[in-house]
């Protein structure tokens, strides 16, 4: 076989493999979206119907009008947004402070703190859930969105600090030193020099926290009692409690829950790839 043919064959093989991987990765997601727009005739069939040839918005409008567990999906969407956004904002402030401390100062207890951040990611949610459930009950925060927000801040903070630390460390110290020399106060230096440069990193970290909180199921499932305080993942799970699962409705809800995450995900990925503040200080 001459080298050119051989290379061509390799290329075809590689591209075929690439397409197969793409299909394997995307098909289940596509299938969720497609099912959300199929008529019930096309959903409950043993045949393979690749496209919703009789597309319908029935399922989408049903989950908004009638909803599940007695409430429209709006209620759960609203709760999910409130919890995720509040947890992210609170978490961003605290993680930025802590990340600055760890990345910019050398102090006693720094390495133990960093190890604590790593170990924290290992603790299983089910372990913390039991004491947290009792503590929130005692504090009167059980079945309160605020309680769930606080819990989510605690869960996302260790990784948030860990991730943001590298972004703060990536900002050249010379910039801050230049500001100090020019007589800027510590606060001005932080606000006018460090913050704008860390902002992209803060956005990336916040998006990660947002996704984690948005996806979080077990805390919301256990700590929220009234159906009006359910978040999206809890509402989705509720579909299975009914007789005869409403697959069109559940797929419409799952799609609504998934789309923002996929969007955010693609956003963070680009941020991560582009070298953050490369070239801010030259020479």
């Amino acid at each position: 076989m001459n080298p050119l043919t051989r290379r061509r064959i390799t290329n075809v093989a590689l591209n075929t493999a690439g397409i197969l991987v793409f299909l394997f990765a995307v098909f289940p997601v596509y299938w969720m979206v497609a099912t959300a727009f199929k008529s019930n005739n096309q959903i409950f069939t043993t045949d393979f119907i690749p496209f919703p040839t009789e597309p319908t918005l029935d399922h989408v409008s049903r989950v908004f009008d009638k909803g599940v567990a007695g409430n429209s999906i709006w209620v759960y969407l609203k709760n999910s947004v409130i919890v995720a956004v509040s947890a992210v904002v609170i978490g961003a402030v605290f993680s930025l402070l802590a990340a600055t401390a760890v990345a910019r100062f050398r102090f006693k207890g720094r390495v133990p703190f960093l190890i604590l951040l790593l170990v924290a990611q290992m603790v299983p949610a089910e372990a913390l859930l039991i004491p947290l459930f009792l503590n929130l009950q005692r504090l009167g925060l059980y079945d309160q969105l605020f309680g769930l927000i606080v819990v989510n801040v605690g869960m996302t903070l260790p990784f948030g600090i860990w991730m943001l630390r590298t972004f703060v460390a990536a900002v050249p110290k010379e910039l801050e030193e230049a500001a100090w020399i020019d007589g800027a106060s510590r606060f001005t230096t932080f606000w006018k020099v460090l913050f704008p440069l860390v902002a992209p990193g803060l956005v990336a970290t916040s998006i990660f926290s947002f996704i984690t909180t948005w996806n979080e199921f077990i805390y919301a499932f256990t700590l929220m009692k009234d159906s009006t305080s359910y978040t999206m993942p809890v509402a989705v799970q509720y579909f299975f409690g009914q007789r005869g699962t409403d697959w069109g409705g559940i797929m419409a809800t799952s799609t609504l829950m998934t789309i923002p995450v996929i969007g955010f995900f693609l956003l963070v990925q680009r941020r991560m790839v582009s070298g953050l503040v490369a070239g801010a200080v030259k020479g």
Binding site: G18, F94, F105, N135, V236
Partner: protein, 338 residues
């Protein structure tokens, strides 16, 4: 930029020589915190949150694992009574614990292995694809990676549906010698994947591998991009086969990456909950429990036995702690922590 003369002197000493010089020219330094306090002040709010929501509950969990915490203690606030190691004894005597442990460990072994193998292969593949094609595959992988765990459970529960599921439809397409219908049936249609433990875990493994391989692939890809191409050129000149090059150059250089990825995968797969919860249909199927589900069900299904739930959680945490120790050592070794 720094031609101006001093305006305000900085509070606290910092280690720049230029700053120190400036101080002498300045007026009296503004009153401010002593510099050693600053990092602690910055750290305090975060540390309080971690202490209140992580460390203290962990401590409570350990205490509770030696107590009887039932409905009376939860509802009426009766002080729980200590049972020593009684909870652990009861659990270790229970067959359910051993089946949950078996499910957890076997699932982790298979899921971690498949995730790493598939992820690495896809990473290597993307590295060799053309620009457009590699972008397409990466975006596809991102889509799978981004799906919320609960939705992953929902999607695969639907794909594995007995009648309308695509998995059974696909198996019907395959010739009988490759995928014979179960128990002398004429077709796969109607085969319930989510009733018995083994099929549930087969679907769970596929679902979790599907969701986790993209992370491995992207990390391996990033690792591959960091290997200088000269090494590969040298290997090519020396007539090394592709397999040998992979084994002698790529693998050793990516070893630290693999170490971290393996440990992270083990930690995640040991804790898997949401997907199993959805696939197994809640906590009704006790034989399908893994340790997280068992701890949860013990603590929250009526009648609640939070003491023994905590005891199971303690055992799970101990297992994970051992794995995490390896992870922390690896990270510290890579000097990532400096």
């Amino acid at each position: 930029m720094s031609n101006q003369t001093s305006t305000i002197a900085r509070g606290g000493g910092n280690h720049s020589a230029a700053g120190r010089r400036r101080k002498q020219t300045g007026r009296t330094p503004r009153k401010s915190l002593p510099s050693w306090v600053i990092p602690y002040a910055l750290l305090l709010p975060g540390l309080l949150i971690i202490a209140g929501l992580l460390l203290y509950p962990l401590f409570q969990m350990i205490v509770m694992s030696t107590q009887k915490v039932g409905l009376r203690e939860i509802r009426r606030g009766t002080p729980p009574e200590s049972v020593g190691l009684g909870n652990f004894e009861t659990i270790l005597d229970n067959d359910l614990f051993w089946s949950a442990l078996r499910n957890t460990v076997l699932f982790a072994v298979f899921a971690v292995t498949f995730t790493l193998v598939v992820g690495t292969l896809v990473g290597l593949l993307i590295n060799r694809l053309g620009k457009k094609m590699s972008k397409l595959v990466i975006v596809g992988c991102m889509a799978a990676w981004a799906v919320p765990p609960v939705a992953v459970g929902v999607i695969w529960r639907w794909l594995a549906d007995a009648d309308a599921g695509i998995i059974n439809w696909f198996l019907n397409l395959l010739p009988d010698w490759l995928a014979a219908p179960p128990d002398g049936q004429t077709s796969w249609t109607g085969y319930p994947w989510l009733n018995d433990v083994l099929p549930i875990y087969v679907i769970l493994t596929i679902a979790v591998v599907w969701q986790s391989f993209p992370f491995i692939a992207v990390s391996v890809l990033a690792g591959l991009k960091s290997i200088p191409s000269e090494l590969y050129e040298a290997a090519k000149v020396d007539g090394s086969s592709a397999f040998r090059t992979f084994w002698k150059i790529t693998m050793p250089l990516l070893k630290p990456v693999f170490a971290v990825l393996t440990v992270l995968s083990i930690i995640w797969d040991f804790k898997v909950f949401n997907q199993l919860f959805i696939l197994a249909g809640g906590t009704t199927n006790r034989e399908a429990f893994n340790l997280s589900m068992y701890a949860y069900a013990e603590a929250f299904r009526s009648p609640p036995k939070m003491g023994s739930g905590a005891a199971i959680a303690v055992l799970l945490t101990l297992i994970l702690l051992v794995v995490t120790a390896v992870y922390v050592r690896q990270i510290v070794k890579q000097e990532d922590i400096r």
